[in-house]
Every structure is written in structure tokens, then in C-alpha cells.
């Protein structure tokens, strides 16, 4: 111990984290166990016996995570050990709740097809995307080269449903879909990731300018007037989304992510206030001018007054959460199918009804773990682009969850956003697997010990040190 430190890395175990792949494997096993337990409980409670294809499901679900784990072990050995287990539990819980709602639908004779196997297929597609991203993207900094292309792709994806005719793009009043040949895609989910990459690269370039303050007003350093350009541009886009796609969710998501990334990049709290002010002003204007926004806000302010019309969903969701109480009705013991579209938009209230407050809070804490690991990655990664990208992605998950849960519990007006990983919906699940893949890639770079730079010009580079020794 007292001798000279020949290898500083071995002497300071805290600064160079171990790979922790076995921790990840153990937690993934735990996650699969939780999922299988939940599936068994649902089957036994609802039908009284285990279903025949439970083994197929169990084998498939286990295989997915084995593949993910092996790929991470091979291609991103220093990745954060908690990201994937948290995702695994959330995906498994989502699959279980969808299966549970399938059973309820079959019993009532309302549904003819099961959605859980479809969701499992989407999860497989998601895992395929995850593997592709982790294998192809060897360094997250490569993404910054395609930042402007990705920004354009994100904008097009975001704008596409607004331009398409309502018969293709409109579901329950929100024009955020593309429905082609039986498939429905929510392009906003993919747009989110593209735009975060673009914002990160753009803000790394421009943050010195944007951080310039012109004057202090009441302890706040306000930016110069001409630096308001970018934030105004994103504000206009998000208001257009609100008006033409009739979706507060996508609009809030886009604008919130940009304002927070701007704040992270410039460290100026004034951007947050400017953002909140701009959005409040825009939303108020939209409320005054557009009838459909008014309807949404009115049902939000007093859902019980509209319980036979637009407020029915929210009222049923609130009743469900109330029935669940502290400990819930038990998996399979409640009636979450009483809420319309419980599988996608209202899966959180289904969880709240069957697992109670304790279960719902557990799910929120799982998201918290995911977000915390993302933000931690952002803190320890060494390059500015990676910092902003990881921070933006982690914040996007947190913000989306906030908007969705706010909608389900009546805190915010209802939105068309989905609960990441849990809700039924292919595009959401696949896009979020892609998001986690990027986070895994950044966290691998962040936790990897500093490698010596490749010395192609070693002889030339060593010359100055020669002078010292003389």
C-alpha cells in the first residue's frame, strides 16, 4: 500500500469505474423474473390457470434481453449497468398490462385480436434497432456530423402528419399519426430523437454567443434581443404543431426539450423564464383563437362537467386510480378496461388501478433510475456534444413521462403522447429503444477509462520532451 503508485488506475477504483456487466446481467434476470411473475399472476387471477403459450412468451422475452446483454458486453463493455434493467422491467410491465387488457377485452367479447403478441413483436423490432445502433455507431460523436440532416429529417417527420389528410393522420382528434395499410406510425417519436441530436450539435456550436448577457434585470441576466432567434423559431414550430396537429403533447415535448437544452448549454436561468413565458403566451393565444384547443382546456379544467363527452376518458381514469387506492386491486383484479384506449394513452391509470399508488410510484421510480443514469452519463462524459446529447435524451424521457402522467391524472390537458416503453404502440417502443441505445453508447464512452491517443506522429511529438531531459 505504501509503495510508489505504479498504476494509478488500480489505486483509485472510484475514478475508473469497473465494467459492471455482471451486475447488469443479474438485474436483467431479476427484471425477466418480475415480468414472468406478473404474467403468471394475471393469468391465474383472470382465467384461473396459466395459458398454454406462456412458455413461448417467457422464452422469447428472455431471449430478447440475452441478445441485448451479449451485444452490450461485446460492443459497449463500459456501458451503464442500470439503463437496460430499468427498460426491461418497464417493457415487461407494459406487456403484462396489455395482455391483461387483452384478457378483459376477450371476456367482454369486445376484442377479437390480442395486442400483447403484436407489442412483443414491436419490442423485438426495438431490440433489433438497439443492436443496430450500438453496433454501427461506434462513437456518439459521429452523430454530430449528421446533425443538420437529422434536424431536417426531424422537422419533416414532425410536420408530416399536419400536412397529410385527416383520414390518414387523425386519431381521436390529434393529427399525429401516419396510418398506412394497417400500420400506424407516430412519427413524432422519431422526430424527438432526431431533433435532440440536432439541438445538441447546434447548441455546442452556438452556446458562447447565446450565453452573452446584455443586462441584468432583477438578478437575471437577460440575453441580447438578437439572440432570441433560435428560441423564437422553435417556439413558432411548436405552436404550429399545437394548432395544426391539435396535440399539446408533441408541442410541449419539443419546446420543453429545446428550452432545457438551451439552459444546460448556456447555464442561464433566464432562458427558462423566457421559455415558460413564450409558451404560456402562445398557448393562451391558441386558446383564444382555436375552438378545438378550447374544448381540450375546458374538459381539463372540469372533466366531470363533460363526463358524457370529451371528459369520459379522464373521468374513468380518475375513478380507476381512486379504486386502486394505496395497494391496488392486484394484477387482474381491477377493471382497467373501463377506460377507453387504456392500452396506449391510459396504461398508467391501468397500472395505478391494479398496483395502486405503491405500484405506480415504483414505476415512476424506475423511470427516475433511467433518467438519473442518463443525467449522470451527461455529467461524466468528456465532450460537450455528448454532455448535451445525453442530458437532452434523459430529460426527454422525464419530460414525456411528466406530460403523460399529468394528462392521465388531470394535472395537464390530455395529450396524445405515450408512456415510454410501457404503452401499446410500435413507434413509441421502437423509438425509445433507439434512444436508450444512444444513451448506452454515450455512457460507454463516459465510463471508459481514458485511452492513450494513437501515436502516429510519436517521433515528432516526442521532440520537445527531449529538450527537457538535456
Amino acid at each position: 500500500m505504501g509503495g510508489p503508485t505504479t498504476d494509478p488506475r488500480a489505486a483509485a477504483p472510484g475514478t475508473v469505474p469497473p465494467k459492471r456487466r455482471n451486475t447488469e446481467l443479474a438485474l436483467l434476470g431479476f427484471a425477466v423474473l418480475i415480468t414472468l411473475a406478473a404474467q403468471c399472476i394475471v393469468d391465474v387471477t383472470v382465467t384461473g390457470s396459466l395459458r398454454a403459450d406462456l412458455f413461448t412468451f417467457g422464452g422469447w422475452f428472455t431471449a430478447l434481453w440475452v441478445v441485448v446483454h451479449l451485444v452490450v458486453r461485446r460492443f459497449a463493455p463500459y456501458a451503464d449497468p442500470l439503463l437496460l434493467p430499468a427498460v426491461a422491467v418497464l417493457t415487461g410491465l407494459g406487456l403484462t398490462m396489455i395482455h391483461r387488457l387483452d384478457l378483459a377485452g376477450l371476456q367482454d367479447g369486445e376484442a377479437t385480436r390480442e395486442d400483447a403478441p403484436v407489442q412483443l413483436l414491436w419490442a423485438t423490432v426495438g431490440v433489433a434497432l438497439f443492436v443496430a445502433v450500438v453496433v454501427v455507431l461506434r462513437d456518439h460523436r459521429q452523430l454530430s456530423r449528421f446533425a443538420y440532416t437529422l434536424g431536417l429529417v426531424g422537422l419533416v417527420l414532425l410536420a408530416l402528419p399536419a400536412v397529410l389528410p385527416a383520414s390518414i393522420s387523425e386519431v381521436y382528434g390529434a393529427k399525429i399519426w401516419i396510418r398506412v395499410a394497417g400500420f400506424s406510425i407516430q412519427p413524432g417519436e422519431f422526430a424527438k430523437i432526431c431533433l435532440i441530436v440536432f439541438f445538441a450539435a447546434y447548441l455546442v456550436d452556438k452556446r458562447d454567443v447565446l450565453a452573452l448577457a446584455s443586462r441584468r434585470v432583477m438578478g437575471l441576466e437577460l440575453p441580447r434581443g438578437r439572440d432570441l432567434g433560435p428560441v423564437l423559431a422553435v417556439w413558432v414550430v411548436s405552436i404550429l404543431v399545437l394548432v395544426f396537429e391539435r396535440d399539446l403533447g408533441s408541442s410541449l415535448l419539443l419546446f420543453g426539450i429545446f428550452v432545457v437544452m438551451l439552459y444546460v448549454a448556456t447555464e442561464r436561468a433566464s432562458w427558462l423564464l423566457i421559455g415558460v413565458g413564450l409558451f404560456a403566451g402562445g398557448a393562451f393565444l391558441a386558446y383564444q383563437v382555436f375552438g378545438h384547443v378550447q374544448v381540450r382546456v375546458d374538459t381539463w379544467l372540469d372533466p366531470f362537467a363533460y363526463r358524457n363527452e370529451g371528459g369520459y376518458q379522464l373521468v374513468q381514469s380518475l375513478f380507476g386510480l381512486g379504486t386502486g387506492g394505496l395497494f391496488g386491486a392486484g394484477l387482474g383484479g381491477g377493471r382497467p378496461d373501463q377506460v377507453p384506449v387504456a392500452k396506449s394513452d391510459f396504461i398508467a391509470s391501468a397500472i395505478g388501478e391494479e398496483l395502486g399508488l405503491f405500484g405506480l410510484v415504483a414505476v415512476i421510480v424506475l423511470y427516475l433510475v433511467l433518467v438519473e443514469r442518463g443525467l449522470r452519463t451527461s455529467l461524466i462524459v468528456r465532450d460537450a456534444f455528448g454532455k448535451l446529447l445525453a442530458g437532452g435524451l434523459a430529460f426527454a424521457v422525464a419530460w414525456q413521462l411528466f406530460v403523460v402522467l399529468g394528462g392521465v391524472t388531470g394535472l395537464l390537458p390530455l395529450t396524445g403522447l405515450t408512456t415510454p416503453f410501457v404503452a401499446y404502440g410500435g413507434s413509441s417502443l421502437v423509438a425509445n429503444f433507439g434512444l436508450v441505445a444512444v444513451l448506452v453508447r454515450i455512457s460507454d464512452a463516459a465510463r471508459r477509462p481514458a485511452t492513450p491517443p494513437a501515436p502516429p506522429k510519436a517521433a515528432f511529438g516526442e521532440a520537445p520532451t527531449e529538450v527537457v531531459s538535456r
Binding site: 494509478p8 475514478t15 443479474a26 431479476f30 387471477t45 434493467p85 422491467v89 452556446r207 415504483a362 477509462p449
Partner: protein, 153 residues
Amino acid sequence: MTAEIVLQVFRFGFLLLLWLFIFAAFRVVRADLFGGRTGRVASVPPRAAAPGRKRGRGVRTLVVTAGPLTGTKITLGEQPILIGRADDSTLVLTDDFASSRHARLTNRGGQWYVEDLGSTNGTYLDQQRVQGPLLVAPGQPIRIGQTAMELRS
């Protein structure tokens, strides 16, 4: 009656399982947060015995103290640390005042030297502009553009 009991066991058992998972996850978070500190506490007594007189011996980390990358730590080994805007630098700066290959820290016999790699705007050790390689003492600020960093044990 037994069926009722089984359902109650399922109901609370599953919640317990879910929270056990969260407990396990938080243990990993805790190990990450405090695991490093116990390692560092163990290394304090030897440093107290030889208080900083050994000129750079036992220097383990390069810590960024000012600028956009504040708080970033790099563990020092035997290898040189390249600082600059180039992507393959050990510390990648995004600063208009930094050159792509700006400066280098080299370890020679347990002591660290900073040298400027012909940068446009210069590297400063304390107030002094770095011309040839200079010995860096722990806690001495190295400045490049908006970024300042120092060696710590």
C-alpha cells in the same frame, strides 16, 4: 377462501418484488456514488504523511476547474494527456480560443510536465505562458482559453 389468500399474497408479493428490484438498483447507484469515495479515503493517510512536498508524486487526476467542462476528471496514468479541439484528444475542448492540438501533459518519472503544441492563443501555467515544457505542481492552474484545470492527488 384459500383462493382469496392466494390473491392477497400475489397482490402484496408482486409489489414487494417490484420494490426489491428498485432496492437492488439503488444499491448499484449507491456503489457508484460512494464506492469511489471509500477508495479515496483509504489513500488519504499516505498523503498526510508526506504533505505535498514530493512534487507531483501521487498525482492521480486532472480536474477541470473552469470553463464549459467544469467538473470533468481524467484519471492520470503513464500515458500523455492530449488537450485540444481534435476529436481524438483526451480532453476535447469546444472553445474558439483552443487549437485542435493545443497542449499536452506528459508524465516523466512520476512528475507531470505541460507543453504547448504550437497553439495560436497559448497555454498558461499560473500567469506564465508555456513556451517549453514546464513542471506542473498539484493545484497549479493550467489555462487554455476559457478552460482552467489542475492536477490533484
